[in-house]
């Protein structure tokens, strides 16, 4: 999975080059890109070591996992044979490098009970999660920014109290509570079960896809809206108190123009950053909602593998999610730097 990441990032570099106004990538962005890219690779190496340590070293070994309490009844010879079979009689370093070697060549391992390759499982699960995360991010951003603008329009007024209370509630009601409530109410009152049947991509059947996605996207959207709302509110209040805003008002610009062009334009930077963080988070953080609504996404793949004690699947899938998370954070940083001209000064 690291390889596609490198390709994606290199692609990004070319794309940015193409759209840069001068036709060339500004030097500050080029230097930053190189440094940030190396940093991302280093982080991924660390991530792979951590995932390996958590899932290989801590739980004893795969034999205990596969045989449970019966592992104690195995003869030493059987134990040794199984250890050789799973490759855990080799040194940890050799195990780590053989795993990373396979991952780099696109081999993420095989699920023992279904004989499916983790790569093919991931290929079918990842689009589900990405669609869900995109929808939730769009819904959450719209609601969060609107609510944040409402709150910031009169700080400490009635609107602000209402907006902040909604934001706090959205932050505090756990996704699993909201998801469970929606599933039960919708199923009972409308006799409608959102999680019947297989996942349908939007191009296969748009109506079925919408039916499957609308409630989970709503639940996650609310979770995204809360931090976006808080960021929007504080950024709007902060920027709104600056001198240049007073000047813009003094020039006689309309309130709407000041709000959208001058204040929101500047407040956009922290908001974009928060939205990016939330989107990245949803790639793995959607696990509970995927489970409740029976969506076959990447989080559910991890959870299922944990239940089935398929540690190879858990290990590679968690690595894929972390790699995607690092990539999204990288792109968020890039956007941040791209839209904020002040960063050039640094």
């Amino acid at each position: 999975m690291t390889e596609p990441l490198i390709e994606a990032s290199a692609q990004q570099l070319v794309d940015v080059d193409a759209v840069a106004p001068t036709g060339r990538l500004p030097a500050f962005l080029r230097h930053w890109l190189v440094a940030r890219f190396i940093w991302s690779i280093a982080t991924l190496v660390g991530v792979s070591i951590l995932v390996f340590v958590i899932l290989r070293v801590v739980p004893g070994n795969q034999i205990d996992a596969a045989f449970g309490t019966e592992a104690g009844t195995l003869t030493p010879a059987q134990h040794a044979a199984l250890a050789h079979y799973y490759g855990i009689d080799r040194s940890l370093w050799s195990q780590y490098f053989s795993w990373i070697g396979s991952v780099l060549t696109g081999n993420l391992g095989i699920a023992l009970n279904t004989h499916l390759s983790v790569a093919s499982m991931t290929r079918s699960a990842l689009p589900v999660t990405i669609e869900l995360a995109l929808l939730a991010t769009i819904l959450g951003t719209l609601a969060g920014v609107a609510l944040g603008l409402l709150s910031a329009s009169r700080p400490n007024g009635v609107r602000d109290t209402v907006g902040q209370s909604i934001g706090l509630l959205a932050l505090s009601v756990p996704s699993f509570v909201l998801g469970t409530a929606i599933v039960t109410i919708v199923a009972a009152k409308f006799n409608y079960f959102p999680n019947g049947g297989e996942y349908r991509a939007p191009w296969q059947s748009l109506s079925e896809n919408v039916q499957q996605m609308v409630f989970p996207a709503l639940v996650l959207g609310i979770a995204v809206a809360a931090p976006v709302m808080r960021t929007t509110r504080s950024a709007m209040i902060e920027v709104g108190s600056r001198d240049f805003v007073r000047t813009a008002r003094g020039k006689g610009l309309s309130a709407a123009r000041v709000l959208f062009r001058h204040v929101l334009g500047n407040a956009a930077i922290p908001i974009v950053t928060m939205v990016g963080i939330q989107f990245g988070y949803l790639l793995g953080g959607a696990v509970i909602v995927e489970q409740i609504f029976a969506l076959p996404g990447i989080g559910r793949q991890v959870l299922q593998a944990i239940e089935d004690r398929e540690y190879a699947v858990v290990q590679s899938t968690v690595l894929v999610i972390a790699a995607a998370f690092v990539l999204v954070n990288f792109l968020t940083d890039l956007t941040y730097r791209w839209i904020d001209p002040r960063v050039r000064e640094q």
Binding site: G46, S172, V173, F176, T180, I288, V318
Partner: protein, 293 residues
């Protein structure tokens, strides 16, 4: 310390006079304090076995009864008292959260202060480890660690602690970096103060405010994470009461017996809202520069 105050210390240090008063002045601080005290009292009642019913005792004849004077919040599918189970569940959530945040706060704060104060290689190592831990969605990392360690309340606490260590490391490192070259620390060095003395007497008090705020907010996240993991069957195990497990059980029941879902849902939300409000209130009360938001 206050004799040679720099702008950085003024910003970070809690003024001794009146931070609690400022907390009580803000509505969020007041409500947060009351809710948090309520949850803490309820947890203490559970510890002292002062509940109307035994939270795990089954009453087969009283299954799925609605709220009444005998069972204040009704009973579940085994006839267990939901009110007592909610209190007991809040206690176990709080227990996990306190242990997790205590561990993460201690380890993370020490690591962050050391990294910021000594800098160099140590800073590099600590912050790279933090970067790696930040490269996972929090719930996924907790999930992976719990799956490796096995379920149970202590392992859940360890998993949550590992996830939150880097947050505390960053929170503590920031003010230390700002203070390291402050005039009063330089003066201390010139006077020949030892590193421990500079650290504990002069730097630690300035780190306390952001760390206290972070502790409060982390407790609310820890309660959310604990109940989420229990909901997924990876945290507290039955028959022990847990708010996440109660919601999970209610999935099959809530359509006909709403109280089985409503009670644990409200309990979790109250605890999380209370800690969030208290954290917001403390942040404003402890930090004079943010007091006028």
């Amino acid at each position: 310390m206050s004799a040679i105050a720099t702008p950085a210390t003024v910003a970070a240090a809690p003024r001794r006079r009146g931070w609690f008063g400022r907390l009580l002045q803000s509505p969020s601080g007041r409500i947060g304090l009351v809710l948090t005290a309520l949850v803490a009292l309820a947890a203490l009642a559970a510890v002292a076995h002062l509940l109307p019913h035994d939270p795990v005792e089954q009453h087969p004849l009283d299954r799925l009864l609605g709220p009444s004077s005998r069972y204040w919040l009704g009973t579940d599918q085994f006839g267990r008292d939901i009110f007592s189970r909610c209190i007991e569940g809040a206690k176990s959530s709080l227990q996990v959260a306190l242990v997790a945040v205590g561990l993460a706060g201690a380890v993370g704060t020490v690591a962050g202060i050391a990294a910021g104060f000594f800098g160099g290689v140590l800073d590099g190592i600590v912050m790279r480890i933090a970067d790696v831990l930040f490269a996972f969605p929090a719930i996924l990392l907790a999930l992976a660690i719990v799956s490796a360690l096995g379920s149970g309340w202590f392992n859940t606490a360890i998993a949550i602690a590992i996830v939150y260590v880097p947050i505390f490391a960053r929170v503590a490192r920031g003010p230390v970096l700002a203070l390291r070259d402050a005039d009063f620390i330089r003066a201390g060095r010139v006077l020949g103060f030892s590193s421990p003395r500079l650290l504990f007497r002069h730097i630690l008090p300035n780190v306390a405010a952001p760390v206290i705020v972070q502790v409060t907010l982390s407790l609310s996240w820890a309660i959310l994470t604990e109940s989420s993991l229990s909901f997924l069957g990876l945290g507290t195990q039955p028959p022990e009461a847990s708010l996440g497990l109660m919601v999970s059980d209610a999935r099959a029941l809530a359509a006909d017996y709403w109280w089985t879902l409503a009670a644990p849902a409200v309990a979790i939300t109250l605890a999380v809202v209370g800690l969030n409000l208290l954290g917001d209130g403390l942040r404003d009360a402890l930090d004079p520069t943010r007091a006028r938001d």
